[in-house]
Assembly symmetry: C2
Homo-oligomer: 194 residues x 2
């Protein structure tokens, strides 16, 4: 009963890891980190806890893998949306904001990235993670806008963090309020014009 399903180690590895991360992402999304047990996860993934603890140091490491993947998906989604044309740095900023809010439509994604991640991984880790993803492009966008004279000169890193915080909050707003948030953000950006 082993002939037909002979897999290489890297195949086995990748398959079970993917199964684990996928199942974990679904459960974390639905019930949060604390509300999800490792027995649940491995059952959903069709493996045992032994496999989990072979591939991941602990429940936290698995969660981190989930968060990492989610960040990747978000930044890909944003990059895909923004690449078109560039009718000015401020328009680009607004477009980036919209792309982010779009990517954050998924409530499980909000739970994982915005609610649980800071508490579970710590803010330092979260900062490190999204410094590696979306933050960079945001900072660059702001810096370019300032160098081009479109935006007032302000400490970019801090400003980017502040925008990030606003975007996160807007993403968590009730659907019927999103328009208001967007309007306010727009006004704030417009107000920064040089």
């Amino acid at each position: 009963m082993q002939g037909n399903l002979r897999r290489s180690q890297s195949e086995r590895r990748e398959q079970t890891q993917r199964a684990l991360v996928s199942a974990a992402r679904a459960l974390f999304a639905e019930k949060g980190f604390a509300g999800t047990s490792t027995p649940e996860i491995v059952t959903a993934a069709g493996v045992t806890r032994g496999a989990l603890y072979h591939h991941f140091a602990d429940k936290l490491a698995l969660f981190e893998a989930v968060v990492e993947e989610e960040h990747l998906l978000v930044s890909m989604s944003i990059n895909a949306a923004e690449s078109d044309e560039e009718p000015g740095p401020i328009k680009a900023l607004l477009a980036g904001c919209d792309a982010f809010l779009n990517a954050m439509q998924d409530s499980g994604r909000r739970q994982i990235m915005l609610i649980d991640a800071p508490a579970v991984l710590g803010r330092a880790k979260v900062d490190e993670i999204d410094a590696r993803h979306g933050m960079e492009t945001l900072v660059c966008g702001l810096r370019d806008a300032m160098d081009a004279g479109a935006l007032r000169k302000v400490p970019v890193e801090a400003l980017a963090q502040l925008f990030g915080a606003m975007f996160d909050r807007a993403a968590l707003a009730a659907p019927e309020d999103v328009a208001d948030y967007r309007k306010s953000i727009k006004a704030l950006i417009r107000g920064l014009k040089a």
Copy 2:
């Protein structure tokens, strides 16, 4: 051995509740919600778990009490600072921001209010809690500024949430970066001038 320490029920009640909340606040501040066990808490408080579960439905309810008290302390601290004079609504806003950042100096307070609370209680509960405390004054301040013609007209509720998000992020910044955050916030507010 009971004569000299005879206490009324309400006294007993208040004393043990205070002991529990106080001990819990210290431990949650130091080690976070998940990293703190109820045995630890009751030991520090000098009671037993039976007392805890008599006065609080569960560990979560105790945490909620801690958060509630912390919010109260913060809003008191802010109100105490702002009452002096009013050299204009924008100055008042900046002053309020500074007062908040000052109140948030305590790292345990940051852990409880900004890191753990959203994940443990859920964002809806957190919103409800600080709608009852600082948010109200912030909204009023903004509305007054708009009505006075000092600020551009923007959806106030949303704007207040965005400012709240920025203040929270600024409070979590590394101490050496706070000045940059403050500068950026100032620029954002200035930009909103009508």
